[in-house]
């Protein structure tokens, strides 16, 4: 409101123009998204630095030390092997979960019979804390790759499944009717109506699933001390907080990068999404 009023008066009263123009420039500068982001992140990092320096390395390493540790992790190559091993189980667990949840979720969304037969188990598993099942999973799978994959799988499969199901259930019924009216049969109906119509929700589900997969990955590794989890555990034991934070930073960057690239994918393959949701 104030912004528009300033512009308006600036146009009307010549005598006030110099004052209001400066005002407008200041507001324009602050209303820029990048500038806002810079301010938010800058102050956060500054706070981190101050807090780190005041409480000491023993509790919280300052931002500058974390950056140094972060660079060292990669130049020395310490992180590469555990990270590769972690990402491997993340990808396998996630892809297995996607392979199960996509067809099953869509089938549940389409068929009342399949829904009735699967829904009780899925709702049950959805509300159950996967973390509480970890000891049981260790007994079943041991501490090898299967365990880590299983945890990642269980962490993301139900969230994806329910999102895919919702995506199919929310398809505009009139679009399906239109498909019928123009003789779209089973396969064609799926390929040309149901799948594209639920594509935005499928991407949302995948995004959700990737976030969950990262959580599952770290949790599983902290339990059995493998991959990045082992690294985190070691840095905690030896009180190397700067390295601990650097590993966490790596995980954050990876998770944010995956989620962001899915936003980009969504805009590329489904640019019409915004129009549907209006």
């Amino acid at each position: 409101m104030g912004y528009h009023a300033g512009r308006y008066w600036g146009g009307c009263y010549m005598s006030q123009q110099s004052v209001t123009n400066r005002d407008i420039i200041r507001r324009d500068f602050l209303s820029h998204r990048r500038v806002q982001q810079l301010i938010v992140w800058g102050s956060l990092l500054l706070l981190w630095e101050i807090a780190g320096r005041s409480v000491g390395d023993f509790f919280l390493a300052p931002f500058s030390a974390t950056v140094v540790a972060f660079i060292d992790l990669y130049t020395s190559g310490v992180i590469l092997e555990p990270l590769f091993s972690s990402l491997q189980q993340l990808v396998v667990g996630f892809l297995l979960a996607l392979g199960v949840s996509l067809p099953l979720g869509m089938a549940i969304g389409r068929s009342e019979i399949i829904k009735k037969s699967f829904e009780p188990y899925i709702s049950f598993m959805f509300v159950t804390s996967v973390s509480s099942m970890l000891p049981l999973l260790i007994i079943i799978f041991g501490t090898r790759l299967q365990f880590r994959t299983a945890v990642v799988f269980l962490f993301c499969v139900f969230h994806m499944l329910l999102t895919f199901q919702a995506g199919v259930e929310d398809i505009d019924r009139e679009l399906i009717q239109t498909g019928h009216a123009y003789e779209a049969g089973g396969t064609a109906m799926f390929r040309h109506v149901i799948f594209p119509a639920s594509l935005p929700m499928i991407i949302t589900g995948v995004r959700l699933g990737i976030g969950r997969a990262f959580k599952g990955m770290v949790l599983a590794e902290l339990w059995i001390l493998a991959g990045v989890g082992e690294l985190l555990n070691a840095y905690q034991l030896y009180q190397q907080i700067d390295y601990l934070l650097a590993v966490i930073l790596t995980l954050m960057i990876l998770a944010i990068f995956s989620v962001k690239s899915l936003y980009w994918l969504e805009e590329t393959v489904a640019p019409w999404r915004g129009a549907i949701e209006e």
Partner: protein, 274 residues
């Protein structure tokens, strides 16, 4: 009334569309819910090249009737025939134009128009050829690769109309196609539909609640009531074609017919004439 109508209309040629004592009930298999009689004992025929409107207040089951002809829903009782054969399933012989356009948002204008051709396995060149032909017919040249959300309501329904025409149907089933448009766009679209119809002379079953629209477009109007959902009256529209190019709506006869139909419809709903 509906019964006397069918006997008087019986001709030697098989009608393109025929409804024989159709009843459509909703919730008849749900014991906890009240049964809704969407269509009650409707019988009528649509002849070849005829433009027939079903006119009625909202909620009188006229859309249900169109869906039955489209094969999208089955009547509870009675028979629906297309060229004398019972209608079992949807077919592009009877192409539907929907009230809310129902375009596929992920398809461009051109590929929305060719959707029916693609589903019925027409070769690619044929799809392209007809797509271009109908884009031109509905005046959307230059918009081939636009997406539906980039178009106005009127333009979207042009795409809907082109999609229906592209499959070269025998019958066009139009479900209040201009109901969602503003008054001005509706007038333009009515005129264009008349022009297109003059050229192609397709058999059209047209659903509307607008008396003026029904009178302007059709050869025959079936007035449907609300309670019960029956066909109350059948009107032969006397105006000469083509009906565009002059303001038919100001003709004395047009105004009188409009008032008569209005009275019939009012008598049914029990609302006061304003």
């Amino acid at each position: 009334m509906a019964d006397s109508m069918t006997t008087s209309q019986r001709t030697s040629a098989t009608p393109v569309l025929e409804a024989k004592e159709i009843v459509k009930l909703y919730n008849d298999d749900v014991p906890s819910k009240e049964i809704v009689r969407a269509v009650d004992n409707a019988s009528f025929q649509v002849e070849d090249n005829e433009f027939v409107s079903i006119l009625g207040p909202s909620g009188c089951g006229k859309t249900t009737l169109l869906h039955i002809f489209a094969g999208l829903t089955k009547p509870t009782e009675g028979q629906v025939l297309y060229n004398g054969e019972p209608i079992q399933s949807p077919s592009t012989d009877r192409a539907v134009v929907f009230q809310h356009f129902n375009l596929f948002p992920w398809r461009t204008v051109l590929s929305n128009i060719t959707f029916g051709l693609e589903m019925t396995d027409h070769p690619e060149e044929e799809q392209q050829r007809r797509g271009e032909k109908y884009i031109e017919m509905v005046g959307l040249e230059g918009f081939e690769s636009h997406y539906p959300h980039e178009l106005s309501g009127g333009m979207q329904q042009r795409v809907g109309l082109a999609r229906a025409l592209a499959v070269d149907p025998t019958v066009l089933l139009m479900d209040e196609p201009f109901g969602a448009l503003d008054a001005q766009t509706r007038r333009v679209m009515q005129t264009e539909l008349l022009q297109i119809w003059e050229k192609s002379r397709k058999t059209i079953l047209f659903i509307t609640h607008d008396i003026g629209e029904a009178l302007l477009l059709s050869d025959k109007i079936l007035v449907m009531g609300n309670d019960p959902s029956r066909i109350k009256e059948r009107i032969d529209v006397p105006f000469e074609r083509p009906r565009y190019g002059h303001n038919i709506k100001e003709d004395q006869e047009f105004v009188e017919l409009k008032r008569d139909i209005w009275d019939t419809m009012q008598g049914d709903t029990g609302e006061d004439v304003i």
